[in-house]
């Protein structure tokens, strides 16, 4: 490389403001890594009343960490309506079944108000959920003695998840028909999705199309490709310390 020209008169050239700005910006950013979580929580609490009343939804674009982010692992997901939708229950069962939304709506409904916690960090407080307990559907089909686990299929064609039979029978594991006070929208995984309250969001399969009883737990999509824990308990898996939801 060429040699530099001799240092020039710096008073004439001016002060190195550019370098100071770069360092200041970098300093603010790095400090933010350490204090960012607290700042985010305070900011989210401060802005929550505005966000809830914002008819434009524009405030949801602000990165506050307390709104839903929409994840889809495949290409565009086909839309299903009440007339096209079917939920198949099969595998190691006595009576396989295929339910319409009307069938599911006619069953006893369970409502829950629980947080939704994503394993990537965001958490939406006090979401209203309502639907059929998974245990209800399992009882109707009668799992055979060799069944120990439940596998979930999605009509996105790619996503899979699973629970042990014992986890699946919990009272806070529901096949959700309603979310946030209305039928589950397409973007939220509607018309029918899973809601596994005590576990991270990836356990709650969106665009649910099939429930299959299996002989053993089949690790799901993110558990195979993203090294997520198969038992995705909130606050006790994936190296995280979030407050449990229960």
């Amino acid at each position: 490389m060429d040699t530099e020209p001799p240092e020039q008169d710096t008073t004439e050239l001016g002060t190195p403001v550019g370098r100071r700005l770069v360092l200041a910006v970098a300093g603010v950013g790095l400090a933010g890594i350490i204090v960012g979580r607290d700042v985010q929580e305070r900011l989210a609490r401060l802005l929550a009343p505005i966000q809830q009343r914002d008819p434009t939804g524009l405030t949801d674009l602000l990165p506050l960490g307390n709104t839903f982010r929409y994840y889809s692992v495949t290409g565009s997901v086909p839309k299903q309506t009440a007339s096209t939708y079917r939920l198949d229950v099969g595998g190691l069962v006595g009576t396989p079944a295929s339910y319409t939304i009307a069938d599911l709506s006619a069953m006893p409904q369970t409502s829950l108000v629980r947080d939704f916690q994503c394993v990537t960090g965001w958490r939406v407080p006090e979401v209203h959920w309502s639907g059929v307990r998974l245990a209800e559907l399992l009882d109707r089909s009668g799992p055979s003695p060799s069944a120990t686990a439940v596998a979930f299929r999605s009509f996105d064609g790619t996503y899979t998840e699973s629970l042990t039979l014992e986890q699946a029978r919990r009272g806070d594991v529901i096949v959700a028909l309603q979310m946030l006070g209305q039928p589950v929208t397409h973007d939220h995984g509607g018309p029918v999705r899973m809601y596994v309250a005590p576990m991270y969001g990836y356990k709650s399969t969106k665009w649910l199309s099939g429930i299959e009883l299996t002989a053993e737990v089949e690790p799901g999509y993110w558990e195979r490709t993203g090294d997520y824990d198969v038992d995705g308990w909130i606050g006790a898996s994936n190296g995280r310390e979030d407050e449990p939801v229960g």
Partner: protein, 224 residues
């Protein structure tokens, strides 16, 4: 980097290395911003899907931003311009405060104070995005609360740098000659006198005496 001799009505503004660095950074930046928009916004994320691939493209185009910047720093012309961007003269502060800053009364060097600010803020922003992005990508690097902090910083800095880039492009779109300067390395002397008067004098002088051009071009940045 040797440039072919310019015609008398043109001045050399950027070297080929600078052109290549700018082009590469621009492409990687646009890819990073586009993939970030998909990852972040539901109305894009749901119809486009393929989260794993979009994420990979985002992460690697982000990390790749380092390459053109490091290559640039190895070049003499690039370092010379970094030095100019770094220094704020008294005229720069006057230019920032002035309401009539573009009428030519304040002699502007090779870069005006707005360009200097943009360069510094973008550089700082890129450093922060790279650092926080690294923390987010390698989950075992730091404790969880710092990782949450890193995502928070990454989100807000991404928003800020998106605005900076949008501003940068919108200024460029208003000035065809300035875009030609970046594309071909040359600008018309007339344009240079209008927008960067102090630099136009200096560069014209340097081109007239090519034997000393290498060292002379950097003289008198805040000058005259």
């Amino acid at each position: 980097m040797a440039e072919p001799p310019p015609s008398p009505t043109e001045l050399v503004r950027f070297s080929r290395v600078e052109h290549a660095v700018h082009r590469t950074v621009a492409i990687l930046m646009v890819v990073s911003i586009a993939t970030a928009a998909i990852l972040y916004n539901g109305f894009l994320a749901v119809p486009i899907g393929h989260r794993r691939i979009v994420k990979l493209v985002h992460v690697y185009s982000g990390f790749a931003l380092l390459v053109p910047i490091v290559v640039g720093v190895l070049s003499r012309t690039y370092r010379a311009d970094l030095r100019r961007l770094n220094r704020f003269s008294k005229d720069d502060w006057r230019w920032l405060r002035s309401r009539t800053r573009r009428d030519g009364t304040i002699a502007v060097g090779k870069f005006n104070a707005g360009q200097k600010l943009n360069a510094a803020l973008s550089t700082g922003g890129i450093i922060v995005l790279l650092a926080t992005g690294t923390v987010m990508y390698y989950p075992d690097l730091v404790r969880l609360s710092w990782r949450t902090g890193a995502s928070f910083v990454h989100d807000w800095f991404a928003l800020a740098i998106g605005l900076l880039v949008a501003g940068h492009i919108s200024y460029a779109m208003r000035d065809a000659e300035s875009r030609r300067g970046m594309r071909t390395g040359r600008v018309s002397t007339v344009w240079a006198r209008d927008h960067h008067g102090a630099w136009a004098d200096e560069a014209a002088g340097a081109q007239a005496t090519p034997t000393t051009a290498g060292t002379r071009t950097r003289r008198g940045v805040a000058g005259s």
